[in-house]
């Protein structure tokens, strides 16, 4: 039995809900205390069983194919030669994880953090790779979105074969509380919603959206500010407008 000040931390640690400071100290202790380690392991086994108390539910059948599709896309990243910039991003992420370590952290905890940092980096690489595939297609159309008399605020990429639009916003303050930005395609004079987005505090964001299958062709895109959740039709005049060019 563990009969000391640490024993009250074994259960929350096994449940993964210790505060970061507490966790760091406790992991240092764990490295030296076999009794606590075995108690943590037994509570972890209990925690795994608790998953069985989740109400049964069935995922959509398409989820299986999605997982296999995404797996096919991730694999190439690990092999031959990703672009240099991606390696730099991965290296930076690992370096940050190293800096975040401190003298108390056990080697094992540091390694786990590294693994998690690498996993996160790979995830963002997979997402970026998808974006790049959309952007580099030969038939992609682009538009620069501007407000009248102002420098460009966003660039839009329309990939007709994948029916995906990517909007890269680089100069737009976040929408006020309870509001959101909505991107529209103007087809035959009528606005059709492509999706909603918001920018980060630095005024930037990159968002990918699906284009509705019934939308055949459009030349103009526009952005309005709408109530959170978006609107079926614009409730105000667009403040950013861009005309598509290129491709075909």
């Amino acid at each position: 039995m563990t009969d000391h000040q640490w024993s009250e931390l074994t259960a929350p640690y096994a449940l993964g809900v210790l505060d970061p400071q507490e966790r760091t100290g406790f992991e240092a202790h764990l490295a030296e205390c076999a009794a606590c380690r075995s108690e943590v392991q037994s509570f972890r086994d209990v925690a795994v069983l608790l998953a069985d108390s989740a109400p049964p539910a069935a995922p959509a059948p398409a989820l299986r194919e999605r997982i296999l599709r995404e797996a096919r896309q991730v694999r190439p990243i690990a092999s031959p030669r990703p672009p240099l910039v991606l390696w730099i991003a991965a290296a930076a992420s690992v370096a940050l994880a190293l800096l975040a370590g401190n003298a108390y952290r056990t080697e094992r905890a540091a390694r786990r953090e590294l693994e998690q940092a690498v996993a996160r980096t790979r995830d963002s690489l997979a997402a970026e790779q998808q974006l790049v595939q959309i952007l580099l297609a030969p038939d992609v159309n682009t538009a620069v979105l501007t407000a009248k008399g102002r420098p460009p605020a966003a660039r839009l990429f329309w990939n007709p074969s994948r029916r995906r639009v990517v909007i890269a916003v680089f100069d737009l303050p976040p929408a006020p509380a309870g509001r959101i930005y909505q991107l529209w395609a103007i087809a035959a004079g009528k606005p059709v919603s492509l999706g909603v987005f918001n920018t980060r505090p630095d005024g930037r964001v990159t968002a990918a959206m699906d284009v509705p299958p019934d939308l055949a062709a459009f030349q103009v895109t526009a952005v309005t500010e709408e109530p959170a959740g978006g609107s079926p039709q614009p409730t105000q005049q667009p403040f950013l407008i861009g005309k598509l060019s290129g491709g075909e």
């Binding site: 024993s7 009250e8 074994t10 259960a11 929350p12 096994a14 449940l15 993964g16 809900v17 210790l18 505060d19 037994s42 509570f43 972890r44 086994d45 209990v46 925690a47 795994v48 069983l49 608790l50 998953a51 069985d52 108390s53 989740a54 109400p55 049964p56 539910a57 069935a58 995922p59 959509a60 989820l63 299986r64 999605r66 997982i67 296999l68 995404e70 797996a71 096919r72 991730v74 694999r75 690990a78 693994e115 996993a119 790979r122 995830d123 997979a126």
Partner: protein, 195 residues
Amino acid sequence: MEETPERVLVAAIAAGDERALGELYDRHGRAAYALALAIVGERADAEETVADAFGQAWRTAGQFDPARGSVAAWLVTITRTRALDLVRARGRRARVLMRAAWENTEGLAAPLGQASEAPDRGVERAEARRLVERSLAELPEPQRRVIELAYFGGLTQSEIAAELREPLGTVKTRTRAGMERLRRLLAPLLSRGAS
């Protein structure tokens, strides 16, 4: 019919075998989804979580260490971590707390009574589930509550104390007492897992 052992399956995944990943999903996808849904609360987010979790399993299968637990346990841990990451990233804690409050009197075990067993799990699995349900139901409600808030809500002890307006020491005592009691009640499953 002889099933491929789970460890062999994971080794095949580590070698890049997509069919093995499909098989892993067929065995554990449903349970992972149910867990994710209980944490994130929305179908689309739960599917996102499961896709993330199996993506992580695909990438990190080479690091799976059978000495540390079963494949099912590995997937549960990955899925729960991913689900809690998503909840935290979206600032959705409030939703989890609302759900917890709604379950206040009944606990999570309640809806399980009417639920049908997922068809892709064996009899053994159904028995295990029933024992987990019964064991949770045997806990005094305050103990079950703090464990559920930690497990499905990802709340720290001090966050639970604030949420329930109880002293931190009380929350800690209840968590420990509840987990110890569960460990005793679930001993048949735990010893089998270790063998």
